[in-house]
């Protein structure tokens, strides 16, 4: 099925609840080729041009089409709008993948190392889920954690992102120069209007994690009215704070989130070091 408009796509999904919507197919076809997925039918979203762009709402929100490709998000006009999302899109994979892989696909796949996910979590973005005759608005984090999952026949159509007009950073550690899956990633955005710092750590857990206490603490250390300076020691402490909050002592072992008595595992120590460095550098860049 190749609907030409959003309404047609939603109708098609309503008529065939088992059909799988497909946009860039970079994740879907990999699963099909590996034999993990045999969709009964597909709803191709490639012809729905309205989902491939974005619009503004209320002056303070960008509504991004789920069909935005990573390559499009990397362009300067978009990067000026939501810099962290552009950074994440730029590192998401080789050009072949970025040219077809979409924002909506990254959210729907919800891979732990999905590069746009920590950015959307830090931005506190929400998504619009459309079904025949109705739409609903769900925070990205609720969707990812399964608190409010995608229902049968629903299509992810728009992603609403607040425009903050302030520095944003996305950093990821991969251990190589070429495109690769993140071992850890950090998205950090400043929200000067609310005098807040929001941060999310990706790839260390099934969903992006928000170190809320560390965010609140570091927001208090920043001189918001002046040049937004911060004591370097506070930046370093923020890194450690974020790492300790997001990587449990038993990381890498079974039941990692349960209490561990014998101190952090070697894997946890390594990952914390990486997350701490990323968070410190992200804050440093954002306040530079």
């Amino acid at each position: 099925m190749l609907p030409a408009s959003l309404d047609e796509a939603v109708e098609a999904l309503a008529a065939h609840p088992a059909a799988v919507p497909v946009a860039g197919a970079t994740d879907l076809m990999e699963a099909v080729n590996a034999g993990r997925l045999r969709p009964a039918s597909l709803v191709g979203l490639g012809r729905i041009t309205e989902l491939r762009g974005w619009r503004y709402e209320d002056g303070g929100t960008a509504v991004l089409g789920a069909g935005l490709t990573h390559a499009r998000m990397d362009r300067p006009d978009f990067a000026a709008l939501i810099p962290a999302l552009a950074d994440a899109a730029r590192t998401a994979g080789p050009p072949q993948v970025r040219n077809v892989g979409t924002l909506g696909g990254n959210i729907a796949t919800a891979a732990p190392a999905g590069d746009t996910l920590p950015v959307l979590a830090a931005l506190e973005a929400s998504v619009t889920l459309a079904r025949a005759g109705a739409t609903r608005e769900v925070p990205v984090s609720h969707l990812l954690t399964g608190l409010d999952p995608l229902r049968p026949g629903e299509l992810l159509t728009w992603v609403r992102v607040p425009l903050l007009h302030a520095p944003q950073v996305f950093l990821k550690a991969t251990g190589r120069s070429g495109p690769a899956r993140a071992t850890a990633s950090v998205a950090l955005v400043l929200d000067p209007a609310r005098r807040a710092v929001r941060c999310a750590v990706g790839a260390v857990a099934p969903v992006p994690l928000r170190p809320l206490e560390a965010e609140a603490w570091v927001a208090g250390c920043i001189d918001w009215d002046g040049s937004r300076e911060i004591d370097p020691a506070a930046t370093a402490a923020f890194g450690e704070y974020v790492a300790a909050a997001c990587v449990p002592d038993g990381y890498g072992a079974e039941g990692a989130w349960e209490a561990v008595t014998e101190g952090p595992s070697a894997a946890a120590v390594r990952l914390r070091r990486t997350v701490a460095v990323l968070a410190r550098r992200a804050l440093g860049r954002a306040l530079k």
Partner: protein
């Protein structure tokens, strides 16, 4: 007959041709013959093969690294519509020793069953196979085969293999090779020790295994696949199928490039068996995951070293223990072990050497041939030791190497004198003299140059630069008494020549080289290379740099014989000796310029054929003290790696690798540089990225997402500082093989550079980010 040194005359001519003709003859750099078709996407690979009425094959593989097979029920698979045959070990003809489950096979030791019978010894070992009329049906049928396993304890630690119960009737020890030379009581003032570990590198050929088997009316079978050893594969297939070798024909099709043996036996024998069973052509294309399961990888190694040296760094004694994990089956482990042992000290002189080396069987995936097998693992260890020694005595790493390097005529620890050119000091000087790359600048536009790549998390303040040196060596051709021989036929008719030789161009560029050889000898520009198949005379496997030497030598001799046949009647007519005539640009001319006859005219419509063999001088096996003239010739290489390390994240970027290599004679300079770049890229991959991990014997990352191959961004700038040409008198053309030694040396050079940048010991390959984080 003209001596080999005389035939270099031709290439000079292409300079005055006004640049309009293609480069021509030895010493020039014509484009590889498969380069354009591969770049344009029109090159036919084995996966593109098609035959009328073909069936599709699929293989069932063991999910366990070690298990007893209690029973196999194929009835559900056979009942599936569209399934034509399901085969297991019991369908194979009885082996020569009467074993009911078919003959085991293997390149040196026959210990590997085609399909597992009774017991599976590694994850992914083939157990059964299906032929069906659609690939999906075949895979579905594979899923319907019910195998009852009793999982057994898997031996995955090679150190446990010695004491574990035997995993195979042949035992767990493939080979123990002791090497003893000199005075065991010798001791030096300085002692450095180290424990080194090398991971499992996979050849990960981009073209996964694929092939087509066609049954023949005479009861035989024709196999179309991208084998790199058509005759060896044919013979082993025939043995396993209980056929005469003549009844099996192996046609080499579309080799997508190989840095190891292509096509494992279970793949092609199973394919042939399905074709014979169904009486129809059968095609099989492996998935990426199966490809990781089916071909052999590099031997993971554990090396323990102790170097004794004088206060000035001169080596006194080297003691080493080397353990290679050969995996479930022997393959070429014994040969890899010989290389690791013989080159355990590297291209350095040391009077007292005591090594114990073992290759053992485990339940890990089988290891086999892969660019510099054995030599690479040893190179990482001995070069790491020399870095340690340099640090201990406070001397520059280059200087400590300079004080110990061997020269032509010096002995190996095996007692063999290195009679081939060994200008190791000159190579080292060549890389050390090259200017260093510019330092990274604190400039946002240069951000992509930071470790971690473009858009990465790199921070200039945390980047440290390191420079490392390494010297590597690897033998060429089969070692330890293996009979090395190749046969080639050259035909001339009209204005073109044809080479018929079963040497497979697996990416090393043999086809291009053979064309250049014939161009040089016969002066004809159009040379066709016939496709290789097993009905031609034996040329042996494409490995260990053999084909440049052995098959190239055979082509040269055959071409010289044709040349003689062509020129002799003319020489007789003019009353001069053949040596006074030369052929260039398709014309026969005499030394005095009186004669000028086109080759086509001299042929008078005849076809001239000649077949010749090349068989290098014999070698001998290493004895119980590791002594013996085991190698025909040795290639050497010096390398300098420059790396930037983000010492907080452990990200490493190799900035530049500078290479100086001894090539004997550069037959095709551009192709040599290509091969060096390929070798360095593979070596950098092993040093930083490539590791086929196993968890309890089960492959953890059999995909190109999980198994990280170097991309263009991970591959450094590769500069060739010098190609030293000192002709090896025993080699045809005086040329040495070039592909393996850069791959052997690069990991050691990168490790040395990371060591210099971080001050950490770096005793493990690949270097993980956590191994390069300081503090």
């Amino acid at each position: 007959m003209t001596s080999p040194t005389d035939i270099g005359a031709a290439p000079q001519q292409d300079g005055d041709a006004g640049g309009t003709t293609e480069p021509f003859g030895l010493g020039s750099s014509p484009l590889r013959s498969d380069a354009l078709p591969k770049a344009l996407g029109i090159y036919p690979y084995a996966a593109d093969l098609w035959a009328e009425g073909l069936l599709w094959g699929a293989v069932l593989r063991s999910p366990h690294p070690h298990a007893r097979i209690l029973g196999i029920d194929t009835s559900a698979a056979l009942a599936l519509p569209g399934v034509h045959a399901v085969v297991t070990a019991t369908d194979l003809p009885a082996g020569p020793d009467g074993s009911p489950d078919g003959a085991p096979s293997g390149p040196i030791v026959a210990d590997r069953p085609v399909l597992a019978a009774g017991v599976v010894r590694h994850h992914g070992e083939p157990v059964a196979a299906v032929a069906a009329d659609h690939p999906d049906t075949a895979r579905l049928a594979v899923g319907l085969i019910v195998v009852e396993y009793e999982p057994l304890e898997a031996v995955t630690d090679p150190e446990q293999a010695f004491t574990a119960p035997p995993l195979h009737p042949d035992g767990n020890l493939f080979r123990h090779l002791p090497l003893r030379t000199g005075d065991p009581d010798a001791a030096g003032e300085i002692i450095v020790e180290g424990l080194y570990q090398v991971g499992r590198q996979d050849p990960a050929p981009l073209g996964a295994e694929a092939g087509l088997a066609v049954p023949r009316p005479d009861g035989g079978v024709e196999l179309h696949l991208s084998s790199t050893d058509p005759h060896g594969d044919r013979d082993r297939t025939a043995t396993c199928l209980g056929l005469e070798p003549d009844r099996v024909r192996l046609v080499v099709t579309g080799v997508p490039g190989a840095t190891s043996d292509r096509e494992d036996l279970s793949f092609q024998v199973t394919l042939a068996l399905l074709a014979l069973r169904t009486g129809r052509p059968v095609k099989m294309t492996l998935t990426r995951e199966e490809s990781f399961h089916t071909h052999t990888s590099r031997h993971p190694a554990l090396l323990r070293y102790r170097h004794h040296a004088d206060a000035d760094g001169t080596l006194v004694k080297v003691e080493a223990q080397i353990l290679l994990d050969g995996g479930a089956y022997a393959d070429v482990s014994a040969e890899a072990l010989a290389a690791a042992t013989a080159f355990s000290v590297g291209p350095y002189n040391c009077p007292n050497v005591f090594v114990d080396a073992w290759a053992v069987r485990t339940n890990n995936p089988p290891a086999g041939r892969m660019r510099g097998e054995g030599a690479l693992q040893a190179c990482f260890a001995y070069e790491s030791q020399l870095d340690q020694l340099a640090a201990r005595i406070g001397v520059d790493p280059v200087e400590v190497r300079r004080r110990n390097v061997m020269a032509t005529g010096d002995p190996l620890p095996t007692g063999q004198a290195v009679t081939c050119p060994a200008p190791v000091a000159a190579l080292l000087d060549a890389v050390a003299a090259e200017p260093l790359p510019a330092l990274p600048v604190d400039d946002p536009d240069a951000e992509w140059l930071l470790p971690g790549g473009p858009g990465g998390a790199g921070d200039p303040a945390a980047v440290r630069r390191g420079i490392g040196y390494a010297l590597g060596m690897v033998h060429m051709l089969g070692a330890e008494g293996e009979d090395e021989v190749a046969t080639a036929t050259v035909r001339v008719s009209g204005d073109h020549a044809t080479v018929i030789c079963a040497a497979v161009d697996a990416g090393q560029g043999f086809a291009t080289l053979a064309r250049q050889i014939v161009q040089s000898v016969l002066g004809v520009s159009e040379v066709y290379i016939a496709p290789a198949d097993s009905d031609q005379a034996v040329a042996g496997p494409a490995a260990r740099g053999r084909h440049t030497w052995v098959s190239g030598g055979a082509v040269e001799r055959a071409a010289l014989m044709v040349r003689h046949q062509l020129l002799q009647p003319i020489a007789a007519d003019f009353g001069m000796s053949v040596e006074l005539l030369q052929i260039a640009e398709g014309k026969i001319t005499s030394y005095d310029g009186v004669l000028g006859m086109p080759v086509a005219e001299a042929l008078e419509g005849k076809e001239l054929w000649a077949t010749a063999q090349c068989r290098p001088h014999p070698t001998e096996p290493l004895d119980e003290a590791g002594q013996g003239d085991a190698f025909v010739s040795i290639a050497f290489c010096a390398m300098r790696a420059v790396v930037d390390v983000d010492i907080e994240l452990g990200a490493v970027r190799v900035v530049e690798v500078t290479v100086a290599q001894e090539v004997g004679r550069a037959l095709n300079p551009r192709q040599i540089e290509d091969r060096i770049e390929a070798g360095v890229a593979q070596g950098v991959g092993l040093a930083l990225l490539e590791d086929l991990r196993t968890e309890g014997g089960v492959l953890a990352n059999p995909s190109l997402t999980g198994y990280r191959l170097p991309t263009a961004l991970d591959t450094p700038e590769i500069r060739v500082a010098a190609l030293l040409e000192e002709r090896d008198v025993v080699a045809p053309f005086g040329a040495k093989a070039v592909s393996a030694v850069p791959a052997v040396t690069a990991p050691a050079a990168v490790a040395a550079a990371v060591r210099a940048a971080t001050g950490l010991p770096v005793g493990r390959l690949p270097i993980r980010p956590e191994d390069a984080v300081t503090g």
